[in-house]
């Protein structure tokens, strides 16, 4: 395999695996910037993957390839709706954020597999007929070296995620909404004295996390597993949390960190072709993402600067 083709494969598989993580990590960033810890990302991704897959299967014949992007949107909306459970529990009923998130994680797979059985009479959906394959960008792909490596047979979802990530950064750091959302995650009492609606902002943070997490789940189903089953989402939501922490609760950090995690996963596929790595046992590549998650959490969680009021409940005084 030539170096250019090897690089192309590494870049495109990295992007494919990074995209779902990126969306979910961006979602987590919004939720936690607003002060609500969201360990329910895993469950949200499951709901997004399920809804996206069902929409894809139902409308692929009518809409063709357009169904793909609409399915991502549907996954997002479903995730956003599902995340409302977390918002109500943590914001209105002041329940523990971790417990509420765990409820989401336990509820989602059970619910979605049950619905899959109802709809398709089996434990998994049929394979998707249209999927997010690879795209060659016209024009850019003609560039020397860069063209073949980055823009030929590459992952559209990866670039889409990076674009969304940059928009998220602008939203969080350059707009009124972003400033207010961050203030609510840092010091809700102070924000409230300035007339900021803490409850509404925390709701928007959680709903955005559901939206983005759901989109991540749908992308997972449409680009990697190509159906929905109990094994579509296996820890990506938790990995996204590690990505979010590794990225220091910053959308740009989340982009970089998820590319790193994506690379780790892509090595499982292309590792055989890289001379230095080819003699390693496949098992190492398989467990690499999880191992890296663990190492990242151990090394960075203590030092990272989480939003000051992350995980706290806000009680309005009378």
């Amino acid at each position: 395999m030539s170096t250019i083709i090897l690089l192309m494969t590494i870049v495109s598989t990295t992007l494919i695996y990074a995209a779902p993580l990126m969306f979910a990590a961006l979602g987590g960033t919004f939720s936690e910037r607003g002060g609500i810890v969201n360990v329910g990302l895993e469950g949200i991704m499951v709901v997004g993957a399920f809804s996206g897959a069902v929409f894809n299967l139902s409308f692929a014949k009518v809409l063709g390839p357009n169904a793909l992007w609409l399915a991502i949107l549907v996954g997002g909306l479903a995730g956003g709706g599902f995340s409302l459970l977390h918002a109500v529990a943590t914001i209105n009923f002041r329940s523990d954020h971790i417990i509420s998130g765990t409820v989401l994680n336990m509820l989602a797979p059970a619910l979605c597999i049950f619905l899959t059985r109802v709809l398709y009479n089996q434990g998994q959906t049929p394979s998707l007929s249209v999927s997010l394959g690879t795209t060659t960008v016209p024009g850019l792909s003609q560039l020397p070296v860069l063209g073949p490596v980055f823009f030929t047979k590459t992952s559209p979802s990866g670039y889409f995620a990076i674009g969304v990530g940059i928009l998220c950064w602008l939203l969080l750091y350059r707009t009124r909404f972003g400033l207010r959302l961050r203030s609510v995650g840092e010091n809700p009492e102070a924000a409230a004295t300035l007339g900021i609606n803490v409850v509404a902002l925390r709701y928007s943070g959680v709903i955005l996390s559901g939206l983005l997490g759901g989109m991540g789940g749908a992308i997972m189903a449409e680009s990697i597993t190509l159906n929905f089953s109990a094994t579509t989402i296996v820890g990506q939501g938790f990995m996204a949390l590690a990505v979010m922490i590794f990225g220091k609760w910053n959308p740009l950090g989340a982009i970089g960190a998820s590319l790193f995690f994506g690379l780790a996963q892509s090595l499982a596929i292309v590792g055989d072709y890289i001379p230095v790595l080819s003699h390693l046992n496949q098992v190492w590549f398989q467990i690499a993402p999880y191992l890296i998650t663990l190492v990242v959490l151990v090394l960075f969680f203590g030092q990272s600067t989480a939003p000051a009021a992350d995980g706290s409940t806000y009680i309005k005084s009378k």
């Binding site: 602008l170 939003p307 000051a308 005084s317």
Partner: protein, 522 residues
């Protein structure tokens, strides 16, 4: 007479059966400083939370510039021209000064924050009122004084005509207090009114025009400050005659109790916060450690109680090497500790008074019977201590959380002193207490010293240190940068030392260390 900006008429605020404010009347004029004087829990804060829109009164009328108003939220109060600077600043630590000012009233251009334009405008405002604030610095990196100026700037940006300052001097150095007084003067010059909440009489005398004394939620008296004196104000506030000076016999020094040579302490993140510190505390003296919060005092205290490891050439308590010892070993060596934070470190709030008073005794065999805790005995002992230390409570079986701040502090003092310690370490022992409770705590500490015990007092309250200590050392940036004689040094000189600059007058210093004095044998 200047315009009446605020008029509160018959304001009552009731929580259940408890009246936090009852039939309060007060008015504030433009260009005036109104002091609100009262003990903790007298209802000052509730009254001001009504004025700043955080709470709604149960009954009564609030008039702003002659118009009756009804605030539903802090936002309504802000729009009516009321700016509140809370005692615990309402700032976002991770944000810059600029972001903190803007938050809630952002300048936006095409959906994007117009930070440049905002910066110019806010800087101009700061310059007008001589508020030295670095708008591009994060709040977490600002001094407390600058954070306070930032809070004042926030109210001015929102066009406040009435600025409420809640206990503004509690956390400031004497120099910062002077500059705050100048800022207040500047505000009133511009026709704004300032409401100054305090229980420090000297400051009220210095800055206020009118003083409203509040006790048990009611206005006791409103008086012009220039017609009264501090002791009258103190008596009015407490409701009885208070003695504001302690009788203090000359110290009778014994042997050295605590000796530190080159003590260094790293905090939990591995950053060295105390560098090569030398200190001796002898029996029969109170050594006061003065300094601004965050100069290594917490780490020093943690090391002295075994909560943080320390490296030292010498670290002895009554001659015993105390390096790498656990908190329990310190306790067994006869050390008592009144921690800074009585609620999270000093007490286990959900536990009963009896359980808290048992404290370190949970290991003592005498508290057990048949291998189980002997509750009848523990409760009996607690009842004795409650009586001896005059802890106001309905029973020894209620949780410590149900006590007032002053009584919680008495509870800690009772627990610690009942162990008959030979070294007492007290950290900000009167923080947040009212005059009566302060009197009690100070007397208890002084009694220990008079009984020949060694006392180390770490405090941010200059008056407390000057009043109690026989010897003062000043901590700055993890080092002891000077020693002072409390009888000779002035508040201003001590303030300069705390800020890190040396004192010029030699007579104010006392570099006499214990080894140079001839210790009196026991």
């Amino acid at each position: 007479m200047a315009q009446v900006l605020v008029s509160m008429q018959h304001i009552t605020k009731r929580f259940g059966d408890f009246y936090a404010n009852q039939d309060v009347n007060l008015s504030v004029h433009a260009g005036e400083v109104l002091a609100l004087l009262g003990e903790n829990g007298a209802g000052k804060s509730t009254l001001m939370s009504i004025l700043s829109g955080l709470r709604q009164p149960t009954s009564g009328t609030l008039m702003i510039k002659g118009q009756p108003v009804s605030f539903r939220s802090p936002r309504d109060a802000t729009l009516a021209g009321i700016g509140m600077v809370h005692q615990h600043f309402m700032l976002v630590q991770a944000f810059t000064g600029l972001e903190n000012v803007l938050l809630g009233d952002e300048l936006v251009h095409h959906g994007v924050l117009a930070e440049k334009r905002a910066q110019t405008r806010i800087q101009a405002l700061a310059d007008t009122y001589h508020l030295n604030v670095n708008l591009n610095q994060r709040v977490a990196e600002m001094s407390v004084g600058m954070q306070q100026r930032l809070e004042i700037l926030k109210t001015l940006y929102r066009n406040a005509d009435i600025v409420i300052l809640d206990e503004p001097t509690a956390v400031l150095t004497p120099q910062e207090i002077t500059s705050l007084m100048e800022i207040i003067h500047q505000l009133t010059q511009e026709g704004k009114a300032v409401i100054f909440i305090s229980h420090k009489l000297s400051e009220i005398k210095a800055i206020a025009d009118q003083c409203v004394v509040i006790r048990h939620g009611q206005v006791i008296q409103t008086l012009a400050v220039n017609t009264t004196d501090e002791s009258t104000l103190a008596d009015l506030m407490v409701g009885r005659h208070v003695s504001r000076s302690l009788a203090k016999p000359a110290p009778q020094l014994g042997t050295v109790s605590l000796a530190l040579r080159h003590l260094s302490v790293k905090d939990h993140r591995g950053i060295e916060r105390v560098h090569q510190l030398d200190l001796d505390v002898s029996e029969g003296e109170i050594v006061g450690v003065a300094g601004i919060d965050g100069n290594g005092q917490s780490e020093l205290l943690s090391a002295l109680t075994g909560m943080l490891p320390a490296s030292a050439d010498q670290f002895t308590l009554n001659g015993q090497d105390m390096r790498h010892r656990s908190p329990r070993q310190f306790t067994q060596q006869g050390q008592a500790y009144i921690p800074e934070d009585r609620q999270t470190v000093g007490l286990i709030l959900p536990f009963t008074l009896a359980e808290n008073l048992m404290g370190q005794g949970f290991m003592a065999a005498q508290n057990y019977r048949f291998g189980l805790l002997n509750y009848p005995l523990i409760r009996a002992k607690a009842r004795q201590l409650i009586q001896k230390f005059d802890i106001r409570t309905v029973s020894e079986q209620v949780p410590a959380a149900s006590l007032s701040g002053g009584n919680q502090q008495k509870l800690i003092i009772a627990r610690e002193l009942s162990r008959h310690p030979n070294l007492l370490i007290a950290a900000n022992p009167t923080r947040g207490l009212d005059v009566g409770a302060i009197e009690y705590v100070h007397q208890s500490i002084l009694d220990q010293r008079n009984q020949g015990k060694a006392v180390l007092l770490v405090s941010f309250e200059l008056d407390e240190i000057l009043q109690l200590a026989d010897r003062i050392v000043v901590m700055h940036d993890g080092e002891i940068i000077g020693a002072a004689n409390p009888a000779k040094i002035t508040r201003q000189e001590l303030g300069l030392l705390m800020a890190g600059s040396p004192v010029e007058r030699p007579e104010a210093q006392s570099y006499v260390t214990v080894s140079e004095r001839s210790p009196r044998s026991k």
